[in-house]
Symmetry: C2
Subunit: 307 residues, 2 copies
Amino acid sequence: MSGTTAIRASAQRLENAEELIDSVETFIFDCDGVIWKGDSLIDGVPQTLDMLREKGKRLVFVTNNSTKSRKQYGKKFETLGLSVSQEEIFASSFAAAAYLKSVDFPKDKKVYVIGEEGILKELELAGFQYLGGPADGEKKIELKPGFLMEHDESVGAVVVGFDRYLNYYKIQYGTLCIRENPGCLFIATNRDAVTHLTDAQEWAGGGSMVGAIRGSTQKEPLVAGKPSTFMMDYLANEFGILKSQICMVGDRLDTDILFGQNGGCKTLLVLSGVTSLQMLQSPNNLIQPDFYTDRISDMLSLKAASV
Amino acid sequence: MSGTTAIRASAQRLENAEELIDSVETFIFDCDGVIWKGDSLIDGVPQTLDMLREKGKRLVFVTNNSTKSRKQYGKKFETLGLSVSQEEIFASSFAAAAYLKSVDFPKDKKVYVIGEEGILKELELAGFQYLGGPADGEKKIELKPGFLMEHDESVGAVVVGFDRYLNYYKIQYGTLCIRENPGCLFIATNRDAVTHLTDAQEWAGGGSMVGAIRGSTQKEPLVAGKPSTFMMDYLANEFGILKSQICMVGDRLDTDILFGQNGGCKTLLVLSGVTSLQMLQSPNNLIQPDFYTDRISDMLSLKAASV
């Protein structure tokens, strides 16, 4: 579930979109900063997706956001007027459940969740028993001398994602399961430093919740979302596609582009999100996509001449 | 504020306490597992401390517990019938304030605290302005679209210690200060994985709170408590003692003994706390103290013959 990155030659500005489109059969899109920004669709997105579908390309949408399920995420696309099916959406909440399936996590074991509703919904759909999540958001610890927190010994995995209701109860519960239940897995939906709860600023992300559990267990998590290659492997298996036939499109170098590179895919950075041209070209940046362009709708104009 | 550890020869069982006592002028004691366990004094402690004082040894008590100030900690000694002055106590709450003093932290800047009362009291005594701490324990974030959390731009340091009231408000506030205020320091009182809130079990420690902020800032903290050498350097300067003239006594290999070794001191492991003889002698353990013994009162009997 991890990969290595070789230093690549500098990214090229995308000049011949037709060639890129013809060279792959699947486009994986990150959502925030690529498809939308907060609650606004980025210019030209519907037309671009239509064009790619017309050319027979498979479209997949991935997000490290674990607070929503695939279904809930589908509603966001719908609200923005985009026609995307649930099966095309891969949120890290789904990835965590898919990971448990991939390791044949026993159905008689339970999952303790530090995170929000999306994770619970996906675990439920996958047929796993869980506890924790929002239900533990108001729980407090009674610190009388001799007090002991009991924990469920049948918890075989702790899934940690972004949780705006993180508290010490959850930290201790998750820590006890990982430290004391033999073989208990520690799964992170993602380790993003920041997330976009609102458009107005960057907010501490899933990396905080994962960091809290890492700090008390001194264990490294298995990461289900980007930039771990688990989702890429899953997609390749599920759809029977070659990774070299995938183009990963994203706005973040250290998650999206690294995710694509770890998976052996082609990569396209768009400058419509958090990464500026200056950041891409900084000598401190070691992550170079194959191509970069301002926004995905550039694929329309950059192919118009040759159509 | 860090050090390296060479692999040492295996620890020797303490056989000649007289020789050890005569070879140093200061004993630094960890508290929990050495002086007391939870709320009970460990057998023979008062007599041992008296004997060492009679022999003219300086005694210092260090703890990574940051929830209490020196003064509050002094009361714990008093309750247990031990006569220890505030000046002999070095809690990591004090160490954080001492660190800020050592770097001439400007008095017109503020400190944001993720932690409990001990840190606030020590900052106050040191003359620093602070905000956060328990006062932010009940604060919630209102997640309306466009919502922005304002933060104080005069915060020049974030001090993070154990905080049983950790919440997302504090995580985001501390993260904003570190990410957005130029030069803002990130100081950890300690990174202990577990702590002893109650005797009945191990509880997630300061490492969780520090891990949460590390996860969202992707920065490493400056650690004021054990095993960083800051406190040792401070003690050596403050009292004008040579580190080779110090014996560090503790029950934990990866904090106490490493702390002593990082500081160039003699080290004595006691088996009255979390470390068993089996753990010490495990081939996986790379941290070897100079000596080990069951409890500090062994120093009484192991010197009796030669007195």
